[in-house]
């Protein structure tokens, strides 16, 4: 196994084009797979020295979060936490303190687990990612990246340089909740990210909800506009949300939960994240 740590995006892409090449960010998935011989790379391409890949920047257009920024560093960024509390909550749940010191958003997305905690929150936030490859950069919505467990749309030589989140308009809020069987260090049974905006009269103007761990890839709920736009959430609309979330579920059954349990929890977490996000939006 070779190891390179390229200093430019182009060199990184050239290294990643080779057969058996794997990008290395925080290594918290990759090294486990190496150890358990799940993968045997010919070359590991440490992307952390590529410019912009470990930076966090705020501009008029919104936020840039470098794909290889460790979660522990993102969590310390106060104004990002204010703008996107749900996204930060989600990524702060990835592993222990030790894992937080290394784990990244690029790795969480590209590992392509249905249970990846940051992904539903990033999708709900309408995030996009900038993909760097041999022919330059392109931008894609986050929900377009994972195609099935363990597989992404990234072509040979491509890697994620960073994530873009919009600057939330005033009256916006987001939230992420997951259910795990213990209180720390476990894999989500269900995870739900929700983001809403409201007008001066507390009526919802936009809403986006994404669910994780209930299907092979993250799911975006369709049909929310008809239920919520122009209204405050009430019992009727919340009940409709719960049914919508439950009917979006195509989960697996494993030791963490039966299909019925996961389906039920999806509805519960959709309701709770909406309540939190709405509360935040009306105070924002």
């Amino acid at each position: 196994m070779d190891y390179v740590a390229p200093k430019t995006a182009m060199e990184a892409s050239e290294a990643l084009v080779q057969d058996g090449a794997f990008a290395l960010a925080g290594g918290t998935d990759l090294l486990v797979k190496l150890k358990t011989k799940f993968i045997s790379p010919n070359i590991v391409v440490d992307i952390k020295q590529v410019p912009k890949i470990t930076s966090i920047e705020e501009s008029m257009d919104g936020w840039w979060i470098g794909a290889a920024t460790p979660c522990a560093e993102i969590v310390e960024h106060e104004s990002l936490c204010q703008d996107w509390p749900g996204v930060v909550e989600a990524l702060s749940l990835i592993g222990s303190t030790q894992i937080q010191g290394r784990a990244t958003l690029g790795g969480n997305l590209c590992n392509a687990s249905p249970a990846a905690d940051s992904v539903p929150a990033l999708i709900a936030a309408n995030g996009t990612c900038v993909i760097s490859g041999q022919t330059g950069e392109r931008e894609e919505p986050i929900e377009n990246i994972v195609i099935s467990p363990g597989a992404t749309v990234l072509a040979k030589g491509e890697f994620i340089l960073g994530f873009k989140l919009p600057k939330p308009p005033s009256g916006s809020g987001d939230a992420y909740l997951r259910l795990i069987p213990r209180s720390e260090m476990d894999i989500a049974v269900v995870g739900v990210g929700t983001s809403v905006s409201v007008d001066k009269n507390k009526k919802i103007t936009s809403i986006r909800i994404s669910l994780g761990a209930i299907a092979p890839t993250q799911v975006i709920l369709d049909g929310l506009e008809d239920i919520f736009i122009g209204k405050e959430p009430d019992e009727d609309s919340i009940n409709k949300l719960v049914s919508l979330a439950e009917s979006a579920c195509r989960p697996i059954k494993d030791k963490r939960g039966t299909i019925e349990y996961r389906t039920k929890i999806a509805g519960v977490l959709a309701k709770r994240t909406l309540n939190i996000a709405y509360e935040r939006a009306t105070n924002h």
Partner: protein, 158 residues
């Protein structure tokens, strides 16, 4: 297989070593540099026995490649005491019997030091969450948590 030359700072001292790319930082510390204080429990990031500081961040040395340490500053449990005098946290662990077999202890101490550097007044809940990635099969955690809280309180009062 060709080896990569790595130079790094560990506990303030310069170290140079040759490393094959499969070796983790934990392999290097334990098997090449004879710094055997960091322990190997799981080698998959779950137990925290291998906790070290890299560039001032708490990490699992079993999930870092040795080659990634090039140019980095590392702190391990060996750097905690000065000569034969123990760090107050180490002494507190002994006084409160916060260790039994001791396998988890180096990792717990490194992790607890990292918490106290960041947060001088952690609550019990904060200590428990911070140390959730450090597994202990012996103590039941309570004495560990108490030792950390007591040291924090003593440091604030002096």
């Amino acid at each position: 297989m060709s080896k990569t030359h790595v130079s790094t700072q560990i506990n303030g001292d310069s170290y140079e070593f040759l490393c094959n790319t499969q070796q983790t930082l934990l392999d290097i510390l334990r098997h090449e540099l004879d710094l055997t204080g960091s322990k190997e429990g799981c080698s998959t990031g779950d137990c925290g026995a291998c906790s070290v500081m890299m560039e001032d961040r708490l990490v699992c040395a079993c999930l870092v490649l040795g080659v990634e340490a090039n140019g980095k500053e590392i702190e391990t449990i060996e750097g905690l005491s000065s000569g034969s005098s123990l760090d107050p946290l180490q002494q507190k662990f002994i006084d409160l019997a916060a260790l039994q077999c001791g396998i988890c202890t180096p990792g717990v101490l490194v992790a607890a030091k990292a918490l106290l550097a960041k947060n001088k007044n952690p609550s019990e809940e904060e200590v428990r969450f911070w140390l959730a990635g450090n597994l202990c099969r012996c103590t039941g955690y309570d004495k560990i948590v108490r030792a950390v809280l007591e040291i924090a309180a003593e440091a604030r009062n002096t």
